[in-house]
């Protein structure tokens, strides 16, 4: 087990920069999730640790060793692939043992490790089967087992749950997390699914277009997004945004946009004349007096999504601006209706339109 450090790493594929000046320190035993949309460079970052791609500039360290020029087999890492990459002609046992055999480990030790991993993953019954005779979930376990038996410095996981159905994904998510805590191996996990990132990572690193946007524990990233990209990416349904004008006068802040007006008490410090206001749907509610919400804001209902225990209402407040708002499951709001809603205090996120960076939360 070891620390994994990216030090100003850049990776270019011809003209395309996949990763730009990327720095991240992953502590010994930590579970870090790299999350971002397609093309954000997260998989490239993972493949660079594995040695499956060569970096253009910078340095990667696993433990105390700089691994930039080491072959994948000499880096002492294990990887779980999206499609599992099990060797089709080998049995589960042989798949697990292959990496150890290549390292010329004594047979007795190979057997001990394979059986131990099989026990941990509950795949002892499957050892003599070939991968094609396994279900998706079982293949996924074998792929995890292949990483476990190696007892490497770090696990690298490239969207290992994306081929599983929704139910199995949720179950396996917690199993992987549990397993990682049990063995305590440093893990770098790549996913595009922000729910997966939030639920699994000790820390999550949000990436976009080859740049690290923010890194922190899931709660901090959710509560204090560093910029508009992170605010919009983390949280489901996504945060709603509106560009609004700012008026500040002794302890009062007024945000406005045509007929839309929002009065806020408190001093967030100096603000530009215009800000981008972000509101998470879970913090916006259909207006009821006496609930201590900020508002009311008013608009026309554009869509209603019934989710069972609650409904999500899309409210068109102004040209091109739609806020998504909570309503109870039994609410009888219909399309085209005019509704009022408010926002919980301290849940208005203000961003700078010039830099997209976070300014304040009021």
């Amino acid at each position: 087990m070891a620390r994994v450090v990216y030090d100003n790493v850049t990776k270019r594929f011809g003209e395309v920069t996949a990763l730009r000046d990327f720095s991240l320190e992953i502590e010994d035993g930590e579970f870090v999730v790299l999350v971002g949309p397609s093309g954000s460079g997260k998989t490239t970052a993972l493949r660079l640790i594995a040695g499956l791609e060569a970096l253009t500039a910078g340095e990667i360290r696993v433990g105390e060793r700089v691994v930039n020029r080491l072959a994948p087999r000499d880096r002492d890492i294990a990887m779980v692939f999206q499609d599992y990459a099990l060797y089709p002609q080998m049995t589960v046992y042989q798949n697990l043992a292959f990496g150890l055999k290549m390292r010329k480990m004594p047979k007795a030790e190979i057997d001990r490790r394979v059986r131990h991993a099989a026990d941990m993953l509950d795949i002892g019954e499957l050892l003599q089967r070939k991968p094609r005779a396994l279900s998706g979930g079982q293949r996924q376990r074998v792929a995890l087992g292949r990483a476990l038996v190696r007892e490497p410095q770090a696990f690298l996981m490239d969207e290992p749950l994306s081929n599983l159905d929704a139910k199995l994904r949720v179950q396996t998510r917690s199993e992987i997390k549990h397993l990682q805590k049990q063995v305590g191996t440093t893990t770098v996990y790549v996913t595009h699914d922000q729910v997966e990132a939030m639920t699994m990572g000790d820390r999550i690193a949000i990436m976009s277009e080859g740049v690290l946007e923010q890194v922190g524990d899931p709660r901090a990233v959710y509560e204090r997004p560093a910029n508009i990209f992170v605010a919009g990416f983390i949280g489901s349904p996504a945060m709603s945004f509106a560009r609004m004008n700012v008026q500040q006068s002794d302890g009062h802040l007024t945000l406005s946009r045509s007929e839309l007006r929002l009065e806020v008490t408190g001093d967030p410090g100096p603000l530009p004349f215009e800000v981008i206001v972000g509101v998470r749907p879970e913090h916006a509610w259909i207006w009821r007096e006496g609930q201590g919400l900020r508002g009311p804001l008013e608009g026309r209902v554009q869509f209603v999504e019934m989710l069972g225990k609650e409904s999500m209402i899309g409210v068109d407040v102004s040209d091109d601006v739609t806020f998504v708002v909570h309503a109870g499951a039994d609410s009888s709001i219909s399309l085209g209706e005019r509704v009022q809603f408010g926002v919980e205090p301290g849940r208005l996120y203000l961003f700078d339109p010039a830099t997209n960076g976070a300014l304040a939360r009021v």
Binding site: A71, P72, R73, M79, F81, D83, Y87, P88, Q89, R146
Partner: protein, 275 residues
């Protein structure tokens, strides 16, 4: 669910039956002719059934046509040439499919050129080369020339087969610590087994059917088809006997194909059908 309209299915069957009939027609004709009684009075034609059935023509052709000798040559050549060209094709295909090296494209196209240029176009300089090496009328002349001809196709074929393997499989092997050699023989070759078997069958058929090179480069080391040609020269009027000879020569390929039929079809479909 099969949603293709009935009419289309019927048309597909019609087309397949027609193509099969065109392919089988001459074979059945020769098969029937080979069972006719010998002699100038006997006149096999088309699909007419012989007046009496007998296998004597096969016995006569085998002994009088000295096919045992031709078979020996063809067998020796195929036994050396097929493994050699398949192994070389695997190695070449692996390099072109998985390795990045300087000049890879140019070298690959040189191999493709070997596929495009017919042997007939290079036979004269080739003859002088083989003569200079002192290999005229030897097994080696046939083996080396056939191998060099086959690897063009073989490398092209194996490259495609290896490229159809998921990249993650190779990467997993690299991380697991397998060398290039081990990755090839331990991971990729088993993966591409159907394609390799298909290549072996095709190569065997090519080798067994070798006529032109045997005619040009050998006198006492004739392959079965070349032997058949000289046999036909001697017995032009005895159609029944010549037909029996042709059947004998064709038989090994038919047997090999029947034996590997399932793998052959799977290999042919590799890459054509996803999943």
């Amino acid at each position: 669910m099969n949603t293709a309209p009935r009419r289309q299915i019927a048309f597909n069957y019609f087309l397949l039956i027609l193509c099969s009939a065109v392919a089988i027609y001459p074979l059945v004709g020769i098969g029937l002719a080979s069972l006719y009684p010998r002699g100038p009075a006997s006149s096999p034609s088309g699909f007419s059934l012989p007046p009496t059935f007998g296998w004597h023509n096969y016995v006569d052709a085998w002994t009088q046509g000295k096919f045992s000798g031709y078979f020996k040559v063809s067998t020796i050549v195929a036994a050396v040439m097929v493994p050699a060209s398949v192994v070389l094709s695997i190695l070449g295909g692996y390099a072109f499919a998985t390795m990045r090296f300087r000049g890879a494209k140019v070298i690959f196209w040189l191999f493709i050129l070997g596929l495009i240029i017919p042997t007939e176009a290079t036979i004269v300089p080739l003859y002088y080369d083989v003569r200079a090496m002192g290999l005229i009328d030897t097994y080696w002349a046939l083996i080396l020339l056939e191998v060099s001809g086959e690897v063009s196709f073989g490398i092209y074929w194996m490259r495609a087969a290896f490229m159809s393997a998921p990249r993650s499989l190779l990467e997993a092997a690299r991380i697991d610590g397998a060398s290039s050699w081990r990755t090839l023989w331990g991971i990729l070759v088993p993966f591409a087994r159907p394609a390799i078997l298909t290549l072996s069958v095709l190569t065997f058929a090519d080798s067994w059917n070798e006529f032109f090179l045997a005619l040009v480069f050998t006198v006492n080391h004739m392959t079965a088809p070349a032997g058949l040609a000289s046999f036909q020269g001697r017995y032009t009027t005895d159609i029944a006997l010549v037909s029996a000879g042709a059947m004998i020569v064709a038989l090994p390929i038919v047997i090999v194909f029947i034996f590997f039929q399932r793998d052959f079809m799977r290999g042919m479909l590799t890459g054509a059908v996803k999943g």
